[in-house]
């Protein structure tokens, strides 16, 4: 029994570790030898591409060769009412180490409620932990029972993310070998003018670009494979620094290095919150691990966070542990002051005890959840920390495609997904609202932007908002599903925009137009991307592009949630309107770029289709953008396999008892599905139509519309003044405070010291004048005078007469003798 199945699964960490470390090896190789790799480091591109390609290969083996044979997908494809048979997941309690057994259980998830025709919710069993394997590689430090380790946690989500990240990264690497060829020789930077008025010319940095890309891939995969939240934090920061390097790749440009700084610092603001979440968890749970650590016999030696918070006794519901309750009590007594310390407090606590037990630890859980989410807000550029992502477009376009749309910024969403079991319903509500605000705000800003990459950047922010919203509403699968589909179509869109920029050497859409004829592959692959992002598909059927499935799933959950919580109508309205705006600005972009008359004849004339190293990845990506969501490919089933512990059943808030998070599968029931599908379709169609009317048919003049809505236009054009606001509210006061503190140092503290120095000098002066001159000098002088006087007096004895001297000696001797005798006798 232990034989093949176990061994096969044992391969997984090895495979993924290999996939994870290969880019690191490539980074190190290029770091030391990059400059000497072929002419101008040309081979470095191949090394990095080869490395990530190899990673992709290993990831594919992990998914198709190991994971799927051990955990076959269930028979049913797609979702909806098709699942008629009841599946039981009980077998999956002992998932790993005995994976084949788990696989026999059929579907790893349960759809009992659906089978029953939706006879209410909450009365069916919750799901146990999904099949996973986890372990530790080595520890950074151990303090008693506390351990900080580098380890792995692998479930279907991990494997899937590995495939997705490495696939897109491979495409982007390939694309970059073409896109970055300018760096293969001395590069004249059109955006940097030197003091002497010339453009800056510098040696190319082709190899350096791939060095950073490799480091980025390593860091990103590190987040995905991480076995504990501390390790996530480590790689979280590392992707941050890679992003910093890549945004600031054109180090000579002030705007680039400023954008890089902004990105890193804004992310650190999020990390500040994340640290607080980490501290709250660390001091109450004493572990950072996701999964339980088992010894060779399969006994749990160390409970992970998930199983501590969602125990089997509690039907995998989220219940704060006792240690959390204690910790929360400690914290509140910390802040409330005296009374907690006093004796009578004990009685009061006892009275409240019964009432409090349910809520005890909930606040701490909420703080921890929101804290961790803060990190995600930073990384995924959610409101209010969304400001860095559009500026991050200063980096070369492949970077935007890989780092700032498909993978790194999605890491925030991934972390919310990974950490899902720890979020309380209230924390999820916060997530939902943040996502909702973000998706709406960003979509509105995208309407007026004219920089092609910035439109896409805001679109990314907005789409990430959708994912957060979905997760916040309890739709785990929908959120992660959208993460995957979005990665493909947004990566595609960015690469297309890069191809356009490569051809016309500008980012401004106002200088493009009509490019469809010049660069057909780019144009039509981009059209695919646009259709995918707006969720194009035939409503009420299962035919559509990838975005169609994932976006509909989100809207469905929004409807379902709204049904349970009519108070939170914003969470339904915003995504629907957002869908319309999305369709509008995406097609505005496409029409402005590829249709109509060329706005700048010179640029148009020089435009050309990109080389095949760039168009091939476009074609590959557009294939995935179309097909990745197709039900029969089983992506959703694979995701369902990784559904986090205890997230199946409908849950209710504790701090907010009225809050109900409906079971995700309920949203796929017929009435909601129809309603949602039609709404989403209508919204997207309306947006598309509006864009067509204005930008293709030119029935309405954009300038006139601009005129009509001037205040609104200004607000959008200035990105709702967030940058200005933050500058005034945060940056300036911080710098001012720095100046104040430096001044305190200089004037107050050093002033005191100088004053005391002057004071002691003054005192010593006084001492010198008063004490030294009179008392000390006086006594010294007096002594000297006395000596002198004695000398003068004694001089008289010195007569020179020998007889007198003899007499003195005799008398003296006698005197000494007498004196000695007296002393002796006494």
């Amino acid at each position: 029994m232990e034989s093949t199945a176990t061994n096969a699964l044992d391969l997984l960490p090895l495979l993924l570790c290999g996939a994870w470390l290969t880019p690191l090896a490539s980074f190190v190789a290029i770091l030391f030898f990059g400059k000497h790799m072929g002419a101008h480091g040309k081979t470095a591109g191949l090394v990095a591409t080869g490395a990530i390609g190899f990673s992709f290969l290993l990831s594919c083996i992990a998914l198709f060769g190991v994971w799927l044979p051990e955990h076959p997908l269930s028979g049913g494809h797609g979702h909806g009412g098709e699942h008629s048979e009841e599946h039981h997941g009980e077998e999956h309690g002992d998932e790993h180490g005995d994976g084949s057994h788990a696989a026999l259980g059929g579907s790893p998830y349960q759809l009992t409620a659906l089978a029953g025709g939706g006879d209410g919710h909450g009365d069916h069993a919750n799901n146990p932990a999904p099949p996973h394997i986890n372990g530790e590689w080595y520890s950074l430090g151990e303090f008693g029972d506390l351990k900080l380790t580098i380890g792995y946690y692998i479930d279907s989500l991990t494997v899937l993310m590995f495939c997705m990240v490495t696939l897109i990264a491979t495409c982007v690497h390939l694309y970059a070998t073409g896109y970055m060829h300018d760096e293969l020789h001395d590069f004249t930077d059109p955006e940097v003018t030197l003091d002497n008025g010339e453009l800056l010319t510098r040696p190319g940095r082709y190899w350096r670009f791939f060095q950073y890309l490799s480091l980025f891939c390593f860091s990103m995969l590190g987040i995905v494979i991480a076995g504990n939240i501390a390790m996530v934090f480590v790689f979280w920061e590392l992707v941050g620094i890679c992003s910093y390097f890549l945004i600031g790749f054109y180090v000579e440009r002030k705007s680039a290095s400023t954008a890089a700084n902004k990105a890193f610092i804004v992310n650190r603001v999020g990390d500040f919150g994340m640290l607080i979440g980490l501290m709250a968890l660390w001091s109450s749970l004493g572990t950072f691990s996701f999964g339980d650590l088992k010894n060779a016999e399969g006994e749990v030696v160390e409970q992970g966070m998930f199983s501590q918070l969602r125990t089997e006794e509690n039907d995998y519901k989220l219940v704060p542990t006792e240690s959390m309750a204690v910790e929360q009590a400690r914290l509140s007594s910390d802040s409330e002051g005296e009374e907690a310390a006093e004796g009578e407090a004990a009685e009061a606590t006892e009275e409240d005890a019964t009432e409090e037990t349910d809520k005890s630890g909930q606040w701490l859980l909420f703080i921890a959840g929101v804290g961790i989410f803060c990190g995600c807000v930073g990384k995924s550029a959610q409101f209010p920390l969304h400001v860095w992502l559009p500026d991050a477009m200063e980096g070369p376009t492949p970077v935007s495609a890989l780092v700032h749309s498909a993978t790194m910024v999605a890491a925030g969403v991934y972390l919310v997904g990974r950490f899902f079991p720890v979020f309380s319903p209230e924390a999820l509500l916060v997530i939902a609202y943040v996502g909702c605000i973000t998706l709406f705000l960003a979509a509105t800003i995208a309407i007026t932007a004219t920089d092609i990459k910035r439109v896409l950047a805001y679109s990314t922010v907005s789409q990430l908002g959708y994912m957060m919203l979905a997760l916040g509403l309890g739709a785990w699968t929908a959120g992660i599903f959208h993460l995957i589909t979005h990665a493909f179509f947004k990566g595609l869109l960015f690469m297309c925009s890069g191809s356009v920029i490569h051809a016309v050497h500008t980012n401004e859409m106002t200088e493009m137009g009509g490019l469809r004829k010049k660069m057909p592959i780019t144009a039509y692959t981009m059209l695919v991307g646009c259709l995918a992002i707006i969720g194009a598909g035939i409503p009420l059927t299962k035919i559509g592009l990838s975005g169609y499935y994932s976006k509909d799933a989100i809207i469905e959950q929004a409807f379902s949630f709204f049904g349970e919580n009519p108070g939170h109508s914003l969470l339904l309205v915003a995504p629907v309107i957002g869908a319309m705006i999305t369709a509008f600005y995406m097609f505005r972009l496409w029409y402005m770029t590829f249709c109509g008359e060329p706005r700048d004849a010179h640029r148009y004339d020089h435009a050309h289709e990109s080389p095949s190293s760039m168009t091939t990845p476009l074609l590959i990506m557009s294939f995935f953008a179309i097909a990745v969501g197709w039900p029969f490919l089983g992506l959703v089933d694979l995701l369902e396999q990784g559904r986090p512990i205890g997230t199946q059943a409908t849950t209710q808030g504790v701090l907010l008892p009225s809050l109900v998070l409906p079971d995700e599968h309920l949203s796929h029931l017929e009435p909601i599905k129809t309603q949602a599908g039609l709404t989403a379709f209508t919204a997207a169609a309306a947006g598309l139509l509006l864009a067509t009317v204005i930008y293709l048919w030119r029935a309405l003049n954009p300038a006139e519309i601009k005129q009509t809505f001037t205040p609104l236009y200004r607000a959008l054009w200035n990105k709702w003044w967030f940058d200005e606001l933050y500058h005034v509210v945060f940056t300036l006061p911080t710098l001012a405070l720095g100046k104040v503190i430096a001044a305190i140092d200089k004037n107050l503290i050093d002033g005191l010291i100088h004053a005391s120095a002057r004071g002691s000098r003054g005192v010593s002066k006084v001492v010198e004048l008063v004490f030294d001159r009179t008392v000390i000098d006086g006594s010294v002088n007096a002594f000297a005078r006395g000596t002198w006087d004695v000398g003068v007096w004694l001089k008289r004895i010195q007569t020179g007469s020998l007889r007198q001297y003899v007499m003195f000696i005799a008398v003296g001797t006698l005197f000494v003798y007498l004196a000695a005798t007296v002393v002796w006798l006494s």
């Binding site: 920061e237 180090v251 440009r253 700084n261 610092i265 500040f272 911080t734 720095g738 430096a742 503290i749």
Partner: protein
């Protein structure tokens, strides 16, 4: 006397530089180059000797995983006062000794540009090395004090003679500040000395304190008997004191620790001034003395001036090693000897740590001088050390979990080593560019990336190590400390977590202004030549260590942690006993005061 004898080996290690300094001083003038090579050779041999501690073939071996003192030896020095020439190593001092000998080599190599009065410079430098090594090994308070002062004077001259334009001001400021610290320390030493009583310790405790050696296969009692029969004056004194019931005073730090943690010994609990006990005052005096060294706000203003004026190698030594002495003193002397005072004042200690972190970071943000900015970053980073050492009484008054406390103290110790690497590196990197263009104005740099790529790469790596980037050494210490603080006080924890934003701010901003950008904006642009071999050889080991310690912190922790954990466990046991004692002996009102004062206050 072979080198395998700890006494011979450690003495050689400590005094070799001083010996060479003496030879240099008395021999006729050598060429400058030769003098530098001799000094470099000496520091290098010292470093090699310290590395032999890892091995057993020459000299005593320092074993990983052992908590107790190793290679300890004692020789009577001034017997009438019970002063011994007592040295030893444990996990707390050993990494610092290695760091010292390592940085001494690099800083000497960085001294090559020194042209003025090279002989005097080298003599003073070597004396300084002796002082630094000695102070970390000394276990006798008097000896500790002597080494402490031995460091002070050469430093004064090194800043005051070889420094920048305002060197005399900076040197005097440094000297007076540190002197104030050492005077306070001296008072505390005497207070503790005159209230100590060696006769309260039993044979085992005395043996642990290194008062007499214990041979292998010898029990403590046997060793003590042998000691009492020997002709040692201290032994005779001890025997007489024991018989007469007279106190025998001691300077032995380990013995003082045992006395301080002995529940039955009340010598340090006597009231001294204003209703506070002797140990309270001793703690406060020692603590002020040490945080002047750290330096913590508000005793830090000597540091920026000293750094700005000091020549590059001296800045490296100052930031890399001298500051560590403050943290070392707190963990080695303040807490174990005066636990009750430390327990009472934990909130003050943590508060000072956090204030320094925030204050230093804000001040760094406002600096225009590159070196001054790095100096203030030191203030901020050393704040983590004070904070980490302070959380030792984590959970005061409630349920006890010394694990978090261990984490904090280990984190603080790790941070000391990490900061030793990163700050020495940062100062060196500032020095490299200063040697070329002779200015440090942050506004007048830019574009170094293009002109000095290797240098920029190394500098950015070291600055990121300071920023606390994962994978580099600064991260580990910071994260250990910050994570452990929540258990002590969540307010302080939140503030200390907030500092990560400021740190990112000032470091990235400095990097942007100095290294990035299109072109260099200051004077002497032609002088910006790539790093020389010598400079690379100094920078590369620092970068390498920053990475190694960041990726594999156990390289340090394996040696350091047992000793730190042991001390924390001892103090934890002591605190539990202390709480019980408080409950039984004092009225409830007292207890409430205690809890109120144990509660964190933040300014």
């Amino acid at each position: 006397m072979s080198l395998n004898d700890p006494a011979a080996f450690l003495s050689l290690l400590v005094f070799l530089p001083a010996l060479v300094a003496l030879v240099l001083a008395v021999t006729p003038r050598w060429s400058d180059e030769a003098t530098k090579f001799v000094s470099l050779g000496t520091t290098f041999v010292t470093f090699l000797l310290s590395l032999f501690l890892f091995r057993s073939d020459i000299g005593p071996e320092f074993e990983a995983g052992v908590a107790e003192m190793q290679a300890m030896f004692a020789v009577d020095w001034i017997p009438s006062f019970g002063v011994q020439y007592l040295m030893g190593l444990d996990g707390i001092s050993f990494p610092l000794v290695i760091l010292t000998s390592f940085l001494s080599v690099l800083a000497m190599a960085a001294s090559w540009p020194i042209q003025k009065n090279v002989k005097a410079y080298c003599v003073l430098y070597l004396l300084l090395v002796t002082g630094m090594l000695g102070v970390f090994m000394a276990l006798d308070f008097f000896l500790f004090y002597v080494f402490f002062e031995v460091m002070l004077l050469p430093m004064y001259f090194l800043i005051g003679v070889w420094g920048g334009p305002r060197r005399e001001y900076a040197a005097i400021k440094f000297f007076l500040y540190t002197l104030l610290g050492s005077v306070l320390m001296l008072i505390a030493i005497l207070m503790l000395y005159f209230n100590s009583d060696l006769t309260r310790l039993d044979a085992q405790q005395l043996a642990d304190s290194g008062v007499f050696p214990v041979a292998a296969e010898q029990s403590a009692d046997e060793a003590m008997a042998a000691w009492l029969e020997s002709d040692s004056v201290l032994a005779a004194d001890y025997a007489a004191g024991k018989e007469a019931g007279r106190e025998v005073h001691t300077f032995n730090i380990l013995a003082l620790q045992q006395l301080g943690q002995d529940a039955d010994f009340s010598g340090f609990d006597k009231e001294a001034l204003f209703g506070k006990s002797i140990q309270w005052w001793a703690f406060v005096l020692l603590f002020i003395g040490f945080i002047i060294k750290v330096p913590s706000v508000p005793f830090h203003t000597w540091l920026p001036d000293a750094h700005v004026e000091a020549p590059t190698p001296i800045s490296m030594i100052l930031a890399g090693i001298l500051l560590k002495l403050g943290g070392y003193g707190i963990i080695r002397i303040c807490y174990p000897i005066c636990p009750a005072a430390g327990f009472e004042l934990a909130n003050v200690v943590c508060g000072i740590g956090v204030v320094s972190m925030v204050y230093g970071a804000f001040a760094a943000l406002a600096q225009k001088d590159f070196k001054r900015m790095v100096a203030y970053s030191s203030v901020s980073h050393m704040g983590y050390v004070v904070l980490g050492l302070g959380v030792w009484s984590a959970n005061a008054g409630t349920e006890y979990n010394p694990d978090y406390w261990k984490m904090g103290v280990n984190g603080a110790m790790f941070q000391m080593i990490a900061h030793g690497i990163s700050s020495a590196g940062m100062f060196f990197m500032v020095g490299v560019v200063y040697d070329r263009v002779h200015h440090r104005n942050l506004e007048e740099f830019g574009g170094l990336f293009g002109k000095m790529p290797l240098y920029t790469g190394m500098a950015i790596a070291l600055f990121f190590a300071g920023l606390g980037l994962p994978g580099l050494c600064g991260f580990i210490g910071e994260v250990f400390v910050v994570l452990s603080v929540w258990k002590y006080s969540y307010v302080l924890a939140v503030i200390s977590a907030f500092v990560v934003i400021l740190t990112a701010g000032y470091i990235l901003w400095a990097i942007q202004r100095v290294y990035l950008g299109a072109e260099y904006k200051g004077p002497h642009g032609d002088a910006l030549t790539p790093m020389t071999m010598r400079e690379t050889a100094i920078g590369a080991p620092l970068v390498a260590l920053a990475i190694v310690f960041g990726v594999y912190p156990r390289a340090i922790l394996d040696y350091m942690q047992p000793s730190v954990d042991r001390q924390v466990e001892q103090l934890a046991a002591w605190t539990e006993g202390y709480e019980d004692r408080l409950k039984t002996t004092r009225a409830i009102i007292d207890e409430d005061d205690q809890m109120a004062s144990a509660r964190p206050t933040v300014n």
